[in-house]
């Protein structure tokens, strides 16, 4: 698609990058709606990066694979439930909801387990050896790489054929922009999950343990916090939220279940986490939504093929000018 597009553009002698303010104005609200729906997926994945970074000061590079494994799990749950690629079946709403919930739960379990396994197999031995941080990062890159390749060997390079449980239908319009049932569900469900996560971290005993370890691992250990358990918990929480994000992802982009489908999304989710302030839960939400919207605006402004570049340039710009993000890094500094 890209190629034919570029050939076409070349033939017409058009500039290779657009700057179409009119299009942005036209699509402003629909871009905003799409951006919010898509950005809420970034936000959920970003929490995984943020929590692990907050506790271990590690960019869990393999989190994108935790996410995509969740997407595969949800997909195979769909097929196991008898859904096939092709036209969306006409089934009662309640059945759709039950099926989606089931797929979501299985995706969350798979992602959570994978995150936990990674922690146990790859990162824990390094922690025990007190390895330098770069060693952790290289391990994470290797893990990401290995999981991706395992999926490639298993499923091949082609995406799975799309399965849609829910047909997109307009629920209501806002300033002329259509909001579909899928977008609304994804956005509200993500918000709800984020709220749960926020309450969990900020209000519960286990959450206090996480914050304590993020703030000062040694003191937390002295105060009776089981550090190993907290780290495991952190990975599991991040993994579970990534699993949920995976379900929302295949609801919005059913054709996106692909061995390296997590990579780009993972980078963007990390961008979102940095944007909001890494280590900051609410920052992850804000960063995800802002990134989702910015990407869509950029798409209208510069043209569809520049969408990903907008995200990367944004990442570099934030790290240069405000490396602590919009809300600042604060998991450890949160009130007790």
């Amino acid at each position: 698609m890209n190629q034919s597009l570029s050939t076409q553009v070349l033939a017409q002698g058009q500039p290779w990058i657009g700057f179409d303010v009119g299009l942005l104005v036209d699509r402003f609200w629909s871009n905003t709606v799409d951006g919010l729906a898509y950005g809420s997926i970034y936000a959920l994945v970003a929490i995984g990066y943020t929590l692990v970074y907050g506790v271990l000061k590690l960019i869990n590079f393999a989190h994108s694979e935790v996410f995509i494994v969740g997407a595969f799990a949800a997909y195979f749950t769909f097929t196991a439930l008898g859904f096939r690629p092709g036209p969306t079946l006409e089934i009662p709403v309640i059945e759709i909801v039950v099926n989606l919930l089931l797929a979501g739960v299985i995706a969350m379990i798979c992602s959570g387990l994978l995150a936990l396994t990674l922690e146990r197999v790859a990162y824990r031995p390094l922690r025990r050896k007190k390895a330098p941080r770069l060693v952790f990062l290289i391990t994470a890159v290797g893990a990401s790489f290995a999981i991706q390749q395992l999926i490639l060997l298993w499923r091949g390079a082609n995406p799975e054929r799309a399965i849609r449980l829910l047909r997109p239908e307009t629920v209501f319009e806002i300033f002329g922009a259509r909001v579909t049932n899928i977008q609304l569900t994804v956005f509200l469900a993500s918000l709800a999950l984020m709220l749960v996560a926020d309450i969990f971290i900020n209000r519960t005993r286990l959450g206090r343990g996480i914050r304590a370890v993020a703030q000062d691992p040694d003191t937390a250990t002295l105060m009776g916090v089981n550090r190993e358990r907290v780290i495991m918990l952190t990975f599991v929480v991040g993994g579970v939220l990534a699993g949920a994000a995976a379900l929302f992802y295949i609801m919005q982009i059913p054709q996106g279940v692909l061995y390296n489908g997590g990579f780009l999304l993972g980078i963007k989710a990390f961008t979102a986490a940095v944007l909001g302030g890494i280590g900051n839960l609410r920052g992850a939400l804000l960063g995800g939504l802002v990134l989702g919207i910015a990407e869509n605006y950029g798409q209208s402004l510069f043209g569809g093929e520049w969408r990903d570049i907008v995200a990367f340039v944004l990442l570099i710009a934030i790290l240069m000018f405000r490396p602590t993000g919009i809300l600042g890094e604060s998991l450890g500094k949160a009130r007790v």
């Binding site: 890209n2 060693v135 990062l137 290289i138 391990t139 290797g142 990367f312």
Partner: protein
């Protein structure tokens, strides 16, 4: 370093004996060993029979060329990762820029096509990659550790996406007929053709030797000492008066130039460049070569590059699984031997080494840890 692991109690690490023997030789004796070795390396394409050959799966000479090209890349990346301790996940970007500059200037498909001699294109390509190294480095080298890694990854992707999106760079369609070095045989047929890997291999090995001499001299100079200081403790280096930012830029730029050179060679041999070979996976593969061999150790990274490139060509069975194997190898290696197959050591000059030995009656201390030390007290500290 960790006193427990030093020479007195721990088992002698892999390769230490050879290293001690090597370090004990005088400069002339070292050359006496090196020259036959280099001759052997040059003769490799002629040894196209059983234990070495990669045929029938892969053309043996081209497999050798690819391994040599990977070794050149690994040496370049080693300057950045191993010497200066800057984790660069977007190194493929420089490789791509080198390949694209060569393609844009020498391919008839390009709008900028002119009858540029290849020998002029090489320095142009290297200069362009150096400039791109400055462009990437200036804003990002303020960052440390993991943030730097992510930003360089973003840079690599931006380069690839630009190749996708700018129509003049022809995306997937690519550039045919990328030029190579001049020269013809006595019967008039060109020496450097796509099908014959041998001249390309010899050219690359020559480039490797030149680059090794250059990088080796840099390592032994003030620049190299500054890199090691930055790698070991950036804050301390800064306080001791090392212009850390400038030397980090230098590491980036020199690494970029070597990557660009490798890109030019790649484009020339394949005679074709499109946007398919410059993704993050390739970048991680480069990193795997450096880390596997032992970052900070030039011999080590060459060994790592051979493992990454030659082994899958030689043993076709594992070719399909190569990325998986190298991904797993990264994990296992980081857990059990983070310094790689051949670790870096704290360097003394060759003469200094012998003096050390004479004075103290024992060898210089060997670093048993990875050079990838935790440099920062915190990110962006």
């Amino acid at each position: 370093m960790n006193a427990r692991n030093s020479s007195d109690s721990a088992p002698v690490p892999f390769g230490t004996k050879i290293r001690n023997w090597w370090n004990g030789l005088s400069r002339f004796q070292q050359w006496g060993v090196l020259i036959p070795l280099v001759v052997l390396v040059y003769l490799l394409p002629l040894l196209n029979f059983f234990p070495l050959t990669t045929e029938p799966g892969t053309d043996y000479e081209i497999a050798l060329f690819n391994a040599a090209r990977m070794a050149l890349l690994a040496i370049g990346l080693n300057v950045v990762v191993g010497q200066a301790g800057l984790l660069d996940l977007g190194y493929v970007g420089f490789f791509a820029i080198g390949a694209y500059v060569a393609a844009v200037l020498t391919s008839p498909d390009s709008v900028l096509y002119g009858d540029y001699p290849w020998l002029a294109v090489v320095p142009i390509a290297m200069a362009v990659t150096m400039v791109s190294g400055v462009i990437l480095g200036t804003p990002t080298l303020r960052l440390r550790g993991d943030y730097l890694a992510i930003v360089t990854l973003g840079f690599g992707e931006i380069v690839r996406l630009l190749a996708d999106n700018i129509p003049q760079l022809r995306g997937n369609q690519g550039f045919q007929g990328v030029g190579g070095p001049p020269g013809t045989y006595s019967d008039g047929s060109p020496i450097f053709v796509q099908t014959d890997g041998t001249p390309w291999y010899w050219l690359t090995v020559t480039a490797i030797i030149l680059v090794l001499i250059l990088v080796g001299n840099l390592e032994r100079s003030r620049v190299g000492r500054a890199w090691v200081a930055i790698r070991e403790d950036e804050d301390a280096a800064e306080i001791m008066g090392v212009a850390t930012f400038r030397f980090k830029i230098w590491a980036f730029v020199i690494g970029a130039a070597i990557g660009g050179l490798s890109g030019v060679l790649y484009a020339g041999q394949a005679a074709f460049v499109n946007n398919q070979r410059f993704d993050v996976i390739t970048s991680v593969l480069f990193l795997a070569a450096v880390v596997l061999g032992g970052s900070g150790n030039k011999v080590g990274v060459i060994l790592g590059a051979l493992v990454i490139s030659y082994i899958p060509d030689r043993f076709q069975v594992i070719s399909e699984y190569r990325y998986l194997i190298f991904g797993l190898a990264l994990i296992v290696l980081m857990i059990f031997r983070p310094q790689g197959l051949l670790g870096a050591r704290q360097r003394l000059l060759a003469y200094g080494r012998q003096g050390y030995r004479k004075l103290l009656g024992r060898d210089e201390p060997v670093a048993t840890e990875s050079p990838m030390k935790d440099s920062g007290k915190g990110v962006n500290a």
